[in-house]
């Protein structure tokens, strides 16, 4: 009797574990499907965040600093393990580490803000005053993606409406809790607290928390990200996000807002000329009607010429960029001479 009960429990738990993996795969497929929809619907009009060329450029300028990606994070204490390796094994281990780092540096999606749901399913005036509280009905079927779940609210005055996005997020977290997500968002995401955290240079932690807590197309996610990017751009602290998964989002935001000067100046200061060139080419891809883009296509410019055209036509801090370019060329000349 008990054996059958335990066997049934085990069977049910295995079923759920298998289901979890299936759910994850379907969720990934759903995510991939939405990306494919976006790229197929808009062909070549305006480059989106998810285009292969754009993603390529953004991954290149993110950089891959293994020391920073695998820096010690707060984990439970384990004694360090030492391995004796040959040179070949060491190379293999480094390759493995680079692949792991690339997986960790996957950029979170940048989506337009979601439109609020105002769907009313039924208006039953005969039910007016049936109760003092609302009834919220959630469909707990395990094998539906969360976006397609039916979550419906019956108000005390009898209207049956679909739940708003905030209610949806909260209820999905109640019935299908995700690790790290809280029912009420962290106090950190209020304006005053954000300022304090930015003064402590902890932008990356804020962005990681935001990624866990909010959906990528929710208003809160976009607001927090914009606040972070604005603060970084104001203080020029681009290096905080370099070699993290958020750098691509930062670069995309700045390119769309046409305020790339600070970032280019920072790159030139750190002698990252290739990154600066790819950033300018990304700018020309996203804004093909700007003056510098048209000049570049007419002259078929590459390399430092791109930067010169950009600094002449578009940037506000052209003086700094030209100086930095000259310094770089002098260094290159000295290097080749000596």
């Amino acid at each position: 009797m008990a054996a059958l009960g335990t066997a049934r429990c085990l069977f049910q738990s295995f079923y759920r574990v298998k289901d979890v993996q299936r759910i994850r795969k379907t969720l990934l497929k759903c995510n991939a499907r939405t990306f494919c929809d976006e790229t197929s619907v808009k062909g070549g009009a305006k480059p989106r965040f998810t285009d292969a060329a754009v993603q390529d450029i953004l991954t290149r300028i993110t950089g891959l600093d293994l020391q920073k990606v695998f820096r010690p994070i707060k984990q439970e204490m384990k004694p360090p393990t030492y391995k004796l390796m040959t040179d070949e094994q060491l190379e293999q281990a480094i390759q493995f580490a680079t692949e792991e780092a690339k997986k960790q540096l996957q950029m979170p999606p940048v989506l337009p803000e979601r439109k609020p749901i105002n769907d009313v399913l039924a208006v039953d005036k005969i039910l007016d005053g049936m109760d003092t509280a609302k009834y919220v009905f959630t469909d707990i079927t395990y094998s539906i993606p969360h976006r397609e779940r039916f979550i419906v609210v019956r108000e005390p005055d009898g209207t049956l409406r679909k739940a708003t996005w905030e209610e949806r997020d909260r209820l999905v977290q109640v019935y299908f809790p995700k690790r790290g997500r809280k029912l009420m968002p962290h106090v950190l995401f209020k304006e005053e607290n954000l300022k304090i955290v930015f003064s402590q240079d902890r932008h990356e932690d804020v962005l990681n928390l935001c990624l866990v807590q909010f959906e990528p197309d929710s208003a809160d996610y976009i607001r927090v990200h914009e606040a972070t990017y604005e603060d970084l751009e104001k203080n020029g602290k681009y290096n905080l996000l370099r070699s993290t998964r958020h750098f691509g989002g930062l670069a995309w935001y700045l390119v769309n807002a046409r305020r790339v000067d600070g970032l280019i100046a920072d790159m030139l200061r750190r002698d990252m000329l290739q990154d600066a060139i790819s950033l300018v080419s990304l700018f020309h891809m996203v804004h093909p009607h700007s003056e510098s883009a048209q000049e570049a296509t007419s002259q078929q410019a590459t390399g430092t010429d791109l930067l010169k055209i950009y600094s002449q036509k578009e940037s506000q801090r052209s003086g700094y960029i030209e100086l930095a370019l000259q310094a770089y060329e002098e260094k290159a000349a000295e290097g080749s001479a000596s």
Binding site: L127, G129, Y135, I140
Partner: protein, 138 residues
């Protein structure tokens, strides 16, 4: 080895499967929480059930919501197998829109409205009386 299968499934004569509310968490007084459950008719209310199909929290939360969860897929299966529904479950399903509205929900709403009106008129008659008393006192 005794064959356990015949002892495991209690066969009921003319028994049927029922989808009903079962009280959970009886270790805490004055805090009800119901599980929506498919069980045999003759089983005790909180006893062994066949499958849990959802939950219902009758006390409103900080957002003034009463949370109800339904596993519609499995409910459809059990209704297809010929399960009966109790009145509260039928009312909840009617409120959710899955079923048509239960007539008792409408009746209860009308009764509440009638009571609210009575209370209003009673309050209305009390206020003028109080005002008269105050004027008399003054």
């Amino acid at each position: 080895m005794v064959h356990l299968s015949s002892h495991l499934l209690k066969k009921y004569h003319n028994g049927y499967v029922v989808i009903r509310l079962a009280l959970a968490g009886h270790k805490q007084a004055n805090r009800p929480f119901y599980r929506i459950v498919a069980a045999h008719n003759k089983r005790s209310r909180d006893g062994k059930y066949i499958e849990q199909l959802g939950s219902f929290d009758p006390l409103p939360n900080i957002y003034n919501e009463k949370l109800v969860g339904f596993n519609f897929d499995r409910i459809k299966y059990w209704i297809g197998c010929g399960a009966h529904l109790t009145k509260p479950v039928a009312k909840l399903l009617g409120l959710s829109g899955f079923f048509p509205l239960h007539p008792m929900t409408v009746t209860e709403a009308e009764r509440r409205r009638a009571q609210a009106k009575l209370a209003e008129t009673a309050a209305g008659t009390e206020d003028p009386q109080q005002e008269e008393q105050k004027q008399a006192d003054v």
